[in-house]
Amino acid sequence: MRFNFWFFLVEALKNVRLNLLMSITAVTTTFICILVFGLGLLVSAHIQGVIGSVRQDVSVEAFMPNASSDQLDALAQKVRGWPEVAKVTEVSQEQAFAEFKDKFKDQPDLYRDLDQSVFPPSVQIQLKDPSEANDVAEKLKQEGFTEDNLSYPQQTIDRLNSVTSYVIWGLYGATLLFLIASVLLISNAIRLSIFARRKEIEVMKLVGASDSFVRTPFVFEGLLQGLVGAGLAAFAVVWINYLFVDWAHNDLPYVPISSDAVNAPFVLVVLVAVGVGIGVIGSFLSVTRFLRKI
């Protein structure tokens, strides 16, 4: 038998028109699910992006609270001799405070009541290669530095991970729940529309329609609903991402958030594919289950 694409498409479109309310429900459900799923993708992509850019950081800071400038000099001198090191800068208490004030010059409240003694003097070490940061941190620990007196990328990454892993797992959990909910809601919407038309389906079977002939328009219907719902959600996600990156650039200039962290065409394709998959699988399963009963 020839597969008549246009016949099935037209049948599906007629179904959508006849069950407009049901279709809107299914499309809305898909939209919300894919939106949540997409926002989950965005958040984890940006976290990965931030971690990636921290990893590219080539600086290690060694803080020396209460150290004299001679002690600073001595450390700087020693570190300069290490092969991984490109450049060493000593930062005194006054310089550290000045840098802080400069960094937050828009928010003077932050430092109005601070004394420069809270800022310990430090030695800032620029490395030749970011991958050597851990080795250098290790060597500094052998020199008597504790974890608390060091700042290096892996430490930042570990701290970031310990906070964000909860966020990411929460998002994955929510996404999974929403995906399950959307499969259920969509197959339920389709089951209702099948139930409303069960007499018709019985008649179709009586005049000799095969299961797949009856099922195909419903699967097309599910596909169209998935496509529309997921397509709208995917564009919303990409748009939200654009707004977010723009906002972050203006309001969080020190957090390395980049529009490169999210591959927009990839996100669009994945989200639409997931939505279409949900629509097709949901409709296929519910029609098949119904057809088995008659």
């Binding site: 038998m1 016949f7 006849l18 009586l206 000799g208 329609a209 002939f213």
Partner: protein
């Protein structure tokens, strides 16, 4: 063409709808199946369409033993049996022409064939002016003509009708019967289950009478009731 071999059908545990029915209908015959309400006529029709399985015995349609037809081959079986029902069973969201076309679409026929065949068959049943009307815009008799057109459009070797005139007035019924008669004359085997005494008596065809699930009479050129 249709053969019942010792067929028994029991619904649930205790409703015996058919009991040891033996019947042979040959190709090209026109047969009336008569009997009181509840005597088992619809049950026989549904068995022929393999809407359900007999409790015992076997049924042959067009040379095929129905119990050996797997579920997925039922559609093909039904394409060889046109069926007409008391309640017409038209698709409400399709026009007269689309309803007839649907029976051709399920068999994967070409659009061009469908476009030429549908108006011809609707013309044949006298509905050429109502092709674009939906079932709810048609009278009962007109709907029944559409359903006969749909049953017959693929020219199946067998046509079964379960009380095709049950919802129609006598004059309309005559028209429907004439239509079935014409279909039979071009070689189709026709089985009509009916209460319509007058019609059966006028047509003088083979009459098979059921009573409480048993065949009590089978007469060529018979009447609805026993002639004294």
């Amino acid at each position: 063409m249709i053969r019942f071999n010792n067929v028994t059908k029991v619904y649930g545990n205790d409703t015996v709808a058919l009991e040891r029915v033996n019947l042979e209908i040959n190709a090209g015959e026109f047969v009336f199946l008569v009997g009181a309400s509840g005597s088992g006529k619809s049950t026989m029709v549904r068995l022929i369409l393999k809407e359900m399985e007999p409790s015992a015995g076997s049924i042959y349609v067009n040379g095929t033993k129905l119990s050996s037809v797997p579920r997925r081959r039922i559609p093909r079986l039904r394409r060889d049996i046109g069926c007409v029902f008391q309640d017409f069973k038209l698709l409400p969201n399709k026009t007269a022409a689309e309803n007839v076309a649907y029976a051709m679409e399920v068999t994967g026929q070409r659009r061009r064939t469908i476009r030429t065949k549908v108006p011809q068959i609707l013309d044949l049943v006298g509905l050429s002016g109502k092709m674009g009307k939906y079932p709810e815009q048609l009278s009962g008799g007109e709907q029944q003509r559409v359903s006969i057109a749909r049953a017959f459009v693929s020219q199946p070797p067998i046509l079964v009708a379960d009380e095709p005139t049950g919802n129609l007035d006598p004059n309309t019924s005559v028209g429907i019967m004439q239509l079935l008669h014409r279909i039979n004359r071009i070689g189709t085997t026709v089985l009509v289950a009916t209460h319509d005494r007058e019609m059966v008596d006028v047509m003088r065809k083979r009459v098979v009478a059921l009573e409480d699930g048993r065949i009590v009479r089978d007469k060529v050129r018979g009447a609805y009731a026993d002639e004294v």
